[in-house]
Symmetry: C2
Subunit: 209 residues, 2 copies
Amino acid sequence: MTEHAIRVLIADDHPIVRDGLRGMFTGDARFEVVGEAADGAEAVALARALEPAVVLMDLRMPRMDGVTAIKRLAELGLATRVLVLTTYDTESEVLPAIEAGATGYLLKDAPGDELMRAVEAAARGEAVLSPAVAMRLMGRVRRPESPLSARELEVLRLIATGGTNRDVAARLFISEATVKTHILHIYTKLDVNDRAAAVAVGFQRGLLD
Amino acid sequence: MTEHAIRVLIADDHPIVRDGLRGMFTGDARFEVVGEAADGAEAVALARALEPAVVLMDLRMPRMDGVTAIKRLAELGLATRVLVLTTYDTESEVLPAIEAGATGYLLKDAPGDELMRAVEAAARGEAVLSPAVAMRLMGRVRRPESPLSARELEVLRLIATGGTNRDVAARLFISEATVKTHILHIYTKLDVNDRAAAVAVGFQRGLLD
DNA sequence: GCGCGCATCCACCGATCGGTGGATTCCGGG
DNA sequence: CCCGGAATCCACCGATCGGTGGATGCGCGC
């Protein structure tokens, strides 16, 4: 073990996962596993005591989950980087972790050499995203969050050109009652009470142009 | 008369005005009056033949008015500058002349020395505006042309926030019938048929923000 | 004086809107 | 399985809108 090995802390509530990861990194001279935690609180305590270069952090753990632990580490102001290693790539899992300060996000199905490259990159402070997670985030950028559904936006555009509910219905091959329902949903989402105000807010929020 | 005197052509349908201007410039060695025209067509013909540095152009002349003559001169591609010298400073007179290519616009009540400085500036290609005309143009820039009257704009703003005709009436201390009249005028001017479309066009044209 | 634009106002009436209180089906996530 | 969101649909009714065809008075420019 050399002086420049990357010090790694493993945080996962499953002993088998910890064993597997420890075995993987211990067999490589570039890394040194300095500790293991079974929950987020233990991970924070060990990181504070040991100051590893990288924490491999699961998200779903008892006592303190991974996102909270990431926040805690950030509050401590340590140089430690957090690489999330988890099963889930849904936006509801990814975004909170990234917002909390994770340097990277990998899925547990990543091959060993990819995982090691990721740890090295994280130690250098480089962002690391699994391809699936990267794809999700890129899609998010291409599709800015709109409060309205695609259909609601269609309806808003048509009323902005002066279409009556009947016109819009004919145009979209739906009933007038459906148009009205969409319109009322638009009003609720934009917090307005009539079509003129809906159009105004639509322009002000960049939904219409 | 030196080699570098500014060559001036005088175009005015009134002989007295032409005499007065000729007398003014002939007495000054900086200028040389090379010709006089009694209407726009004659002004164009003489300018083409003599290529003066500056034409002093009246706007209201028989046979061909000043604006048309300015356009003709511009089409000829001569280096001649046109300084409009006229009685009127209304926008309906000023704008067409400036659009046609006039380098300057002075009123006939300008003092002689101001007129001579203006001719020198025009010969150098500098824009020259009488203070009154300048003020009008500056006001125009500050108040971009809106198709709607001030009151109509007020009404449009209020319906964009979702106000009913009744709300708008209460807000502006007028009757609902008056609000309706304004709204119908807005529809006509913006070429729309309902309030939602009026708001949309209002945003698209920068009337609302 | 005339014409135009602006601001103000009226009554009537058919068309449309907004609200209400439902309903069903499908899909995705927990 | 349950829940929530999206898309679709209904009937009824009071409120509001838009159109129509007027009106007056003022100020401004020609």
